[in-house]
Amino acid sequence: QTVEVRGKVIDANLSIGISGVSISIKNSTRGTTTSASGDYQISASASDVLVFSFIGYKPVEKAIGKASVINVALEEDVKGLNEVVVIGYGTQKKSVVTGAISSIKAKDLENIPSGRIETALQGRVSGVTIAANAGQPGSASTVRVRGLTTFDTYGGNNPLWVVDGVIIDNGGIGFINQSDIESIEVLKDAASLAIYGARAASGVILVSTKRGKSGKLSVNYTGFVGSSSPAKQLNLLNASDYGTVMNEKSVAAGGNVLYPNPSSLGAGTDWQGAIFNNNAQRANHEISISGGNDVSSFFLSAGTQNQDGIVLKDISGYRRDNLRLNSTHKLSKLISIGQTLAYSHQKTVGIGNTNSEFGGPLSSAINLDPITPLVVTDPTAAASSIYASNPVLRDKEGRPYGISSIVGQEMTNPIAYQQIRLGNFDWSDDFVGNAFIEVSPLSNLKFKSTVGAKLSYWGGDFFTPKYYLSATSGAAKNTFSRSSNTGLGWNIENTVSYNKSLNNHNIGVLLGQGLYIDNITSGTSITYSDLPVNTYDDASFNFSLPAAQRTGSAYTGVEHRVTSLFGRLTYDFKEKYLFTGIIRRDGSSRFGGNNKFGIFPSFSAGWVVSNEDFWKENNIVKSLKIRSGYGVTGNDAILNFGYLSTIVGGRNYTYGTGGVDIISGFSPSAPSNPDLKWEETAQTNIGIDATLLKNLTLTLEVYRKKTSGILQTITLPGYVGATSSPVGNVADMENRGLEIELGYRKRFGDFNFSANGNVSFLKNEVTYLGNGISFITSGAAGFQSMGSITRTQVGQPYNAFFGLQTAGIFQNTAEINAYKTAEGNVIQPNAKPGDFKWVDTDGNGVINDNDKTFLGNGLPKYTIGLNVAMDYKNFDFMFFAQASGGNKIFQGLRRLDILNANYQSSVLSRWTGEGTSNTYPRLTNNDTNGNFGKASNFYLEDGDFVRLKIIQLGYTLPNAIISKIGAQKLRVFVTAENLLTLTKYTGYDPEIGGNVFGIDRGYYPQARSIQFGLNLKF
């Protein structure tokens, strides 16, 4: 017999309604949620039991019986112990978790205007370092879980992303729509990671997407529009200062005065101003519908985002459209099935050459002289041979874009450069989904089979006109190329799980088997050259060109296969004594015959002290759990066939008087290494979860992880004659860290306050590099003509900055002569006043490469995130700030091998005579002391920064108004991003990701933006 039940759910302390409380009928999939005022209504039968639950409150069950009105007062659950976390192939109550897992729920991500999931995750959890690779819209970030686990030759430091159980190996995580995310769990220690075995060493990030709840149909819309601008511009020399500085440089080297009257040059060209876009548009719209009944439930969403870049707006932008359907169906009491399917289309228009000192448009804007005009307006100059006889680019009036005759090499007029990339874009279409069937013959026994796949299509269209940007950058013929690729990765997993509680002993067992194939990839690329048109808009593959003008290439990827068996045992006694054991056996196609399979075990235990009888309830420590674990995980991110000696082509030569016939040569590349095997990471973790003073939650983790047998290319001696370096299990590295997460929530009448903070400290050290090898330079970062600027050495962090150490500047000849060895030899006899005094590290009286020393590390030592939210009546306010530090940044914005490149205004404080500067050396075109040419701490700056990443102010319209349109909630908000960054760093942006963190070569800065948005719920 069906009855209509209604009522109101209130906060027990505050006696006000709580919106969004989930009300479900026990042992069914039906349910509903409360309105903004806390009211609800549901159809049920008299024998049903209603379960009221809401995050942060203790759940309440009420039998209906004869009642038609059931009001409930929920009590806050300060411990948050009933929260459930995803742990891989299942979930676990947070109170009994023994590993180090950080979790973020949908609520924390709502309304945050991130383009990509990595940005959403940034600063939210401890132990995860995330830095953008570029501020270009849509570009990926570098994500590191607990620092560097391996040497980064093949991307092995990237965590494994698992979306609804589908391992996302290829093409990145960019496809996922933030609003679809229900939760993100970051598995950090080996005790939790071992369930993903051979690919888990660098962390696993589990993403679960939303599923429908039975009950009333729920419709949500979130949208915002806004505008972005660069947060910072560099102070570069204007033309008259530039002229003065160039004169000084030239004269110092015995040259002429180049600009007799520098002040007449005036301000000159502002190249930076020319490339920046102060009004880059951004829009985001997302809508979702979810609902269901006893049998089926669904979640359907669609979204679109469109973002213009802040640099060279015509060739910088990102668009993504996405669609998702998740559903679950109950076929019978025993069998249920379900699926997830997401489609996303991405289109990226990029400026190319980001963070490159070789002709990146930002680099050009920084280095070009301010004398060359942006556009040549003087008709005489425009008629000179360089413009008249070359296919130069012109503005709408037909005037040529200026070409510098002062600064050459790769530096080109960035606005002209923009013209040659107009219309070019990359695109991708991703289909990611899975389907499962779950059979539950007994209430505590479950069989589950899942098939998951990611099918991707991607490619790009690229037209380069016939052009002339400078003497070294041009094309005599236009080309139009198109590439298209297909990639498929799929997996099958079968698991059986059994749970049993007996006399306070709770046991759970999971056994599973999996099969994975990815990189089933192929692609083609074609290029048409010398088309009869010269713009992207006119270009077409429909032109019939002779075969010689149509070239193409194709490839087939090498499959990566993994086969696995895994099991997990969880046990607890009265939720007081906890134990988890995991074992996984993986086989990978990337390993040699001698070591195809590896076994990865882990054990962890916990003790909930506060559940002991002797624990007296108190208000200082409300709850306390101590846990510890140890385990081993692996990494197989290496080259395919690293263990074989293959014959490779491309050792070509030309024969014949015709001089155009290239003959292909083949030879072996390197000797084989059949002993190649897993890299193993052993990790020990100790953690404490506590609730202090009623409102403060604390999680503390201390860990030590050691990776041994790091897969690294072995640098064979050159006399072996190998063309490539084979891969071997060579090095060992260790990370130690401390992580703290703090949460605080309190209500003061109508005022709600919550704060969540996290702090992570990290220390990375290379402990072994092979017998007798103290350092390696493979994988080192290079810079311009300096060679390597980082080095990997035993006892130091991986790829730490390495160069000469300055000891001030010689102010006069007496100081030069006074700098001598114990034997009285002058150490820098050729130095001039104004030159750097280099530290003679090895004390042999000569300054050379042996004096180079470690100068700092690019990876931050600590990262901090702080999220503060508050609301008062209908107003809400939040801000999110992050900080990191202890790292150095290599500030390489100026091309030191281009004598006439422009300078930042810091050059004005250079050494010009005794006592003028002890940090910035003299300028000369004959820099024999290598003041600028040598890698040294002169280029390194502190990377510490504090950034106010997001501020948001929202207002929820009163019920009286929104009920007129039948809505449940209508909220308007305004968000500002990157409003404030406190840093001493002199480049655009101190947050610089990449394989080696913190090298600034003309980095695409992050945007500052403001957005206006709307949440609407029916």
Partner: protein, 482 residues
């Protein structure tokens, strides 16, 4: 989960175990040995610009004092194990490795016996060439003539230079009887009997086996300015040697091939798939422009200004008929407002005209124009061979006189009495900036005197330092005084 599921085989590349089974695979292996000949003039780290930088003909130049640290430090003799470009060592050993590998496989490949003999001879001759470069550059080097087993890799030691020379001479003597007297036009660039003999003569000269050197070179040279078995002949016009179209001319004995057809880009520059000539790009002036009305040739404008010619070479060549073909006096052209260019590092105003590209030489292919010049380069040409024989003859006698006269008369110079000094002087003028000068100075013991102002130290700089990485974990010992 059977382990056969985990066996994924490579596509498009073969396993060593299953390769070298037929004639075409043998040929592909041979091409890979030839590939390293590129080193003479291909890639940033090529022989010609490096050897020029170390000589008194040019300095390093380029964009700045740190542009090409190998070139710079060789030019001012601060070169050290960490600044010497390791590729001069490694690339040549790659050639040796490929030759060793092919020579170990050839006996078991079922194929035409004549061709097999020829491939063997070519591999031997190329291995000789690569070892010749190695021993002249580094002096104390390991001698490896078979593929190394993995257990042997770290136990290799250096051989006496005499043992290296013995192996080079053996390889060439084995190859010469088998190599063809001439090759069809489609095979131009492959080793011939004459090329191997000229090379052997040169090797003997460096090994101080003068009579053997003279004997080999005499066969190649034949009658000065007259007949020889291979049809070699000096070009009438000296400057024609540097015309792009004159590949494999009658004066060319051993030539390195380049083409724009590989469409090289920055990603493969200097690698096996780059077939471009980089010397031409490197020595050109920076941002060269011609004002309206200029009558100067339409030069290529985007060079990198390496190897600016020294005032010293300018002075000795100034009144020589070969001056204008050898040196571009950009200083004078600039003063006359015929051209303008950005001065690079160590700019002298003089550029190497032998390699100076004209706008019409610029690649019309698809790759980066700066990486795709198609000029070939000479390793040995007949004038060089004449002068080497004259030197091997001790710089005396009628034949030596005739050889010297032949070189001089081609450019309209009168006969002068032959002597070792006269020959050395003629070599400098005739072969300026072609990569011979530094080796000549070291071979004749004059380097310490002539190059002292650049910082050359006797007993040290006669050989390059062995690249630092070669000493890591190996038994290789550094050259003296580095």
């Amino acid at each position: 989960c059977s382990s056969s599921y985990l066996e994924v085989l490579p596509k498009g590349s073969s396993l060593e175990a299953s390769y070298y089974t037929n004639q075409s695979e043998a040929f592909a292996g041979l091409v890979a040995v030839y590939d390293i000949m590129r080193k003479n003039s291909g890639g940033f780290e090529n022989m010609i610009t490096m050897l020029n930088a170390g000589s008194d003909d040019t300095v390093a130049g380029g964009g700045g004092a740190t542009d090409g640290v190998g070139l710079q430090s060789f030019s001012n003799y601060t070169i050290s194990p960490t600044t010497v470009p390791a590729s001069y060592w490694g690339d040549h050993y790659q050639g040796v490795f490929r030759a060793n590998f092919l020579l170990s496989k050839l006996p078991n490949i079922p194929m035409d016996a004549t061709l097999k003999a020829r491939y063997t001879a070519e591999s031997q001759a190329l291995r000789a060439l690569y070892y010749f470069n190695l021993v002249r550059l580094f002096k104390n080097i390991p001698l490896i003539t078979t593929p190394l087993a993995s257990t042997e890799i770290y136990n290799v030691v250096q051989a006496e230079p005499s043992a290296i020379y013995a192996q080079i001479e053996k390889d060439l003597n084995d190859a010469i009887p088998v190599l063809p007297i001439s090759v069809p036009a489609s095979d131009a660039g492959r080793l011939t009997k004459g090329a191997a003999q000229a090379l052997l003569g040169k090797v003997y000269l460096y090994d101080n086996k003068l009579s053997e050197a003279a004997a080999q070179l005499a066969i190649v040279n034949g009658t000065p300015n007259g007949a020889n078995p291979y049809g070699y002949k000096l070009l009438n016009n000296f400057s024609d040697l540097w015309v792009v179209a004159n590949k494999f001319n009658s004066e060319s004995i051993l030539e390195v091939t380049h083409t724009y057809a590989s469409n090289a880009g920055w990603g493969n520059w200097g690698s096996g798939t780059d077939e471009g000539n980089s010397v031409v790009q490197m020595i050109g002036p920076r941002t060269l422009t011609r004002p309206t009305g200029s009558t100067a040739p339409a030069y290529y404008s985007g060079g990198w200004s390496f190897n600016p010619v020294t005032q010293d070479l300018y002075d000795v060549l100034k009144n020589d008929p070969r001056f204008s073909a050898t040196i571009l006096d950009a200083k004078a052209l600039k003063a006359a407002k015929q051209i303008n260019y950005i001065s690079g590092y160590q700019d002298t105003g003089y550029f190497i005209n032998k390699f100076m590209p004209k706008q019409s030489d610029v690649s019309t292919g698809l790759g980066n124009i700066e990486l795709n010049f198609r000029q070939n380069s000479y390793i040995i040409r007949l004038a060089d061979s004449y002068l080497m024989e004259a030197e091997a003859l001790g710089g005396t006698g009628a034949r030596a006189q005739a050889l010297l006269d032949a070189v001089r008369s081609r450019v309209g110079l009168p006969s002068i009495p032959v002597s070792l000094n006269a020959i050395a002087n003629e070599r400098r003028l005739e072969l300026a900036c072609e990569g011979h000068r530094w080796f000549d100075l070291v071979r004749t013991g004059k380097a310490a005197t002539v190059l002292s102002s650049k910082g050359f130290k006797a007993g040290k700089n006669e050989a390059l330092p062995i690249p630092f990485k070669e000493l890591e974990n190996t038994k290789i010992k550094q050259n003296p005084n580095y």
